[in-house]
């Protein structure tokens, strides 16, 4: 039984080294020529709580989880009821358990389940300094057909600096695990990897977002830590200085967003990252960015809501606030990365959009793409670099900061420029920036701020469109569910359904014409998203009529959407 992809979950209490093992497995697979991704789920305990590493390894580039896991390796069963539902098993899936941890709990059992017991604990005890996770790793790699040397090499790199003893005992653990395979039956194995050239990257969505920001031109970041956005900041903090930029940890999100307004006013492209609660605190000042036409990028790594909600789990639930959360008529831009790897492109593009339109861009990432790690080919260079239309000022001549231009974008002067002094203004103002309460000024500035967003040429990047030209069903989705939806569409097509994927990166303004074109000809449009309220569908409805029969397919987290459930929906109608 050889497969193009195998999904593996490892669970265990904190300290068992589940995450380390997962990361090594992913990187070793990458070295061996595979692709893959790894998500993570954690319990509420700060330390020592249960956790699970959720992997999928594949011969082809893959950024979606499978419906379930083919192999579940349980180091122990602590608090399994808390995240049982995040561990769906594929039919015929194999549970490998340690007898030391007791019987497999009833809630893990169903008709199709197969169980093998392997005494990881006892085996590790036999090794001096032996660790359960290394034994398990050796076993899993061997099971799925990953080259043992590759694995050993990876562990060696990972543990370099920990001393020879640690290396030796790890190696012994890997070996012991690999040997234990003989006792295990009915094992799904991966096809051989295809030969590929070129570098590959192991990267999380949050790191990719940080890199995208810098590539887009960002040199200033001010932020306040919040799960699951902190990693972006923790990546930017040491990396920004390398390229002449800086990051400031602020007292709160009110300070963060206003600091980047200051940095951007100074001419330095600026970013902040947060999650729902922090975004809520920022909206007043995002409105200031809109009114004063100061470019800023706010990355919202969404988590379960409302309120404090479920900070460590994922949902696509901040579309409402991102699109409509500002007071007054405040047009701005909202984007969403379509995969872990796409966090790079979408963030970089968003910096470009913010700078080009002198507005606020909110990037709707989420915990799923942000905190998952994937293997990708080294991305091609992306052309987008934030470039502002800078004003050519003439000393002595009145500079019109908010000039009524055809495209709505008014050339901006940077502090230090002679003849370019102006007041960035949050009060309504005339073309010079002087406060005005006159209806004429208000209307023309409102229209200009709208026009620059609506009339901008977003090019082909607004969405990923893929599938049958003569499709009957369109799966329309946004942000992080794109790859899951893509897999569902591919499976449907494999079953003969004419289907098309439309995965939207540009959430607001709604690219209505392009959407109509992308959906042309379909008789069913299935709108897929991971939230309770169907926020994207409502947003689309507000702005356009969708063609054909519109079917809402959405449910809340924490379990991410699965290709199989979307497929089932496609097939069921």
């Amino acid at each position: 039984m050889a497969l193009s992809s195998v999904s593996i979950a490892m669970t265990g209490s904190g300290g068992a080294g589940v995450m380390t093992a997962g990361q090594i497995l992913l990187d070793a697979a990458a070295k061996a020529g595979y692709y893959g991704l790894m998500g993570r789920t954690l319990g509420p305990q700060i330390r020592g709580g249960e956790s699970a590493a959720l992997l999928r390894l594949s011969t082809e580039p893959v950024q979606s989880p499978d419906d379930g896991f083919d192999i579940l390796v349980a180091f122990d069963w602590g608090n399994i009821e808390r995240f049982r539902e995040e561990l769906p098993m594929n039919p015929g899936g194999l549970i490998i358990a340690d007898p030391h941890a007791g019987d497999v709990p009833a809630l893990m059992l169903d008709a199709e389940r197969r169980i093998e017991y392997v005494p990881f604990h006892a085996m590790s005890k036999d090794i001096h300094g032996g660790r359960v996770n290394m034994v398990a790793l050796g076993l899993i790699a061997e099971l799925v057909g990953l080259d043992h040397d590759c694995l050993v090499e990876r562990v060696t790199t990972q543990l370099s600096g920990k001393g020879q003893t640690a290396l030796d005992s790890s190696r012994a653990g890997l070996d012991a695990g690999a040997e234990a395979v003989v006792g295990v039956k009915g094992v799904p194995r991966l096809d051989r990897p295809k030969p590929r050239t070129g570098d590959r990257w192991s990267i999380t969505g949050n790191d990719a977002a940080g890199l995208g920001a810098i590539q887009g031109g960002v040199r200033f970041c001010a932020a306040y830590p919040i799960t699951p956005a902190t990693d972006i900041l923790e990546w930017l903090a040491p990396n920004l200085p390398k390229v002449g930029g800086t990051l400031v940890q602020c007292e709160d999100e009110l300070a963060s967003v206003n600091m980047i307004l200051g940095g951007s006013y100074g001419g330095v492209p600026s970013v902040t990252a947060t999650s729902g609660p922090g975004l809520a605190l920022m909206t007043e000042s995002i409105g200031l960015a809109v009114a004063s036409e100061t470019p800023v990028v706010i990355i919202d790594v969404q988590r379960g809501g409302p309120s404090t909600g479920i900070p460590t789990k994922s949902e696509q639930v901040d579309l409402n606030i991102a699109v409509n959360g500002l007071h007054g008529d405040a047009p701005h831009v909202v984007t969403a990365p379509l995969s872990i790897g796409d966090c790079l492109f979408t963030t970089q593009w968003s910096v470009h959009l913010a700078e080009a339109m002198q507005t606020a861009v909110i990037v709707l990432s989420d915990q799923t793409v942000g905190q998952s790690r994937t293997i990708i080919d080294k991305p091609a260079e992306i052309a987008f670099i934030g470039r502002r239309k800078v004003a050519e000022t003439v000393p002595g001549e009145r500079y019109l900061r908010y000039a009524l231009t055809a495209d709505g974008v008014s050339p901006m002067s940077l502090p230090g420029t002679d003849g370019g002094a102006y007041i960035a203004e949050g009060l309504e103002h005339d073309e010079t920036g002087r406060p005005s309460t006159q209806g004429a000024h208000h209307t023309e500035q409102l229209a200009k701020r709208q026009r620059k967003i609506t009339d901008f040429d977003y090019g082909d990047h607004w969405a990923l469109v893929d599938g049958d030209p003569d499709a009957e069903v369109a799966v329309l989705t946004w942000g992080s569910t794109a790859e899951v939806a893509r897999e569902a569409v591919n499976r449907a097509r494999a079953r003969g359904v004419k289907a098309r994927l439309v995965a939207v990166r540009l959430i607001d303004p709604v690219p209505a014409d392009r959407l109509r074109y992308a959906l042309a000809g379909v008789s069913r449009t299935v709108v897929v998203e991971q939230n309770h309220g169907g926020q994207y569908l409502r947003h689309l409805r507000a702005h356009m009529d969708l063609p054909g029969r519109v079917e809402a397919f959405h449910r809340p987290g924490p379990l991410g959407l699965r290709p199989g459930e979307i497929l089932a929906h496609i097939l069921s109608q």
Partner: protein, 274 residues
């Protein structure tokens, strides 16, 4: 402009202030323009950042770069600007409501952070812009506002003490009715390396007409700035709120500036290669 000697008028715009005749803020505007002229700083290299309030309207009356931001957020905007553009001279201006009420947290943390900028608060112990409510510096028994008909009932905020406790490295107080001293303080504050806080008693003639009497209460007894926090504290314990002068000037290093690039952006991705 570098060669020529700057005049205060060079820093004043032709926009007519919305301020009431007699408002203390006129003198503050004059002192800032005079101070900048004395320092001969080209207007194009100076930025004024404010929040919302009567006093926060000040930037528009200058020829400087400026940001009229939202209520309470002047200091973060100013800090971000200075950190991103260390070459600029950055001042932040506003009122007691803007700075000590809604903006109180930023005030405290700006004092701690010690970014090299100057913060000038025009304190009139009232919310002028919203027509006369109590501010943090209003006396507990002031019954002049319909919002707090029995008086706010809360002990007034002590700006200088708070600044000192929070770690500010330059702290002074001036009276808008003494423009020479105010100008002197603005100059010293701008020249100070680090966060400088100038507390200006600036009467609101409309909602606190009794503040015209401040002229009689003010006395210039902070003669030499203390350089030791302890001494400044001891001095403050005797303060009646009307002592003017530079209270304290410490020597802590200002907060991190933008570093020089050591690597090309193209190489940043290398860390992800397996």
């Amino acid at each position: 402009m570098d060669a020529v000697v700057a005049k205060p008028q060079d820093y004043k715009s032709d926009l007519k202030p919305i301020w009431c005749p007699g408002c203390g803020d006129f003198s503050v505007l004059a002192a800032i323009t005079r101070g900048l002229a004395e320092l001969n700083l080209p207007p194009k290299d100076v930025a004024l950042v404010s929040g919302i309030g009567c006093s926060s309207r000040l930037p528009a009356y200058s020829t400087l770069y400026g940001f009229h931001s939202v209520h309470g957020r002047a200091l973060p905007v100013a800090s971000g600007l200075k950190l991103a553009r260390p070459d600029l001279t950055v001042l932040s201006v506003g009122g007691d409501g803007d700075g000590f009420s809604i903006g109180g947290n930023h005030f405290v943390h700006a004092c701690r952070r010690n970014v090299d900028l100057t913060y000038i608060v025009m304190d009139n112990s009232v919310y002028g812009m919203t027509k006369g409510q109590a501010s943090p510096t209003t006396q507990a028994d002031w019954t002049g506002s319909k919002l707090t008909p029995e008086g706010p009932g809360v002990a007034p905020f002590r700006p200088l003490e708070m600044a000192l406790s929070s770690g500010a490295t330059f702290i002074s107080r001036a009276f808008s009715g003494d423009p020479m001293e105010l100008t002197r303080q603005v100059c010293a504050a701008v020249q100070h390396k680090g966060f400088s806080f100038v507390h200006v008693l600036s009467p609101c003639v409309t909602y606190r007409p009794e503040q015209k009497g401040w002229r009689e209460l003010v006395h210039g007894d902070f003669t030499e700035p203390y350089t030791d926090r302890r001494d400044a504290f001891l001095r403050l314990l005797d303060d009646d709120g009307f002592t003017t002068g530079i209270l304290y000037q410490g020597a802590a290093a200002p907060f991190q500036p933008m570093p020089r690039a050591t690597q090309s952006v193209a190489d940043l991705g290398d860390q992800f290669v397996i």
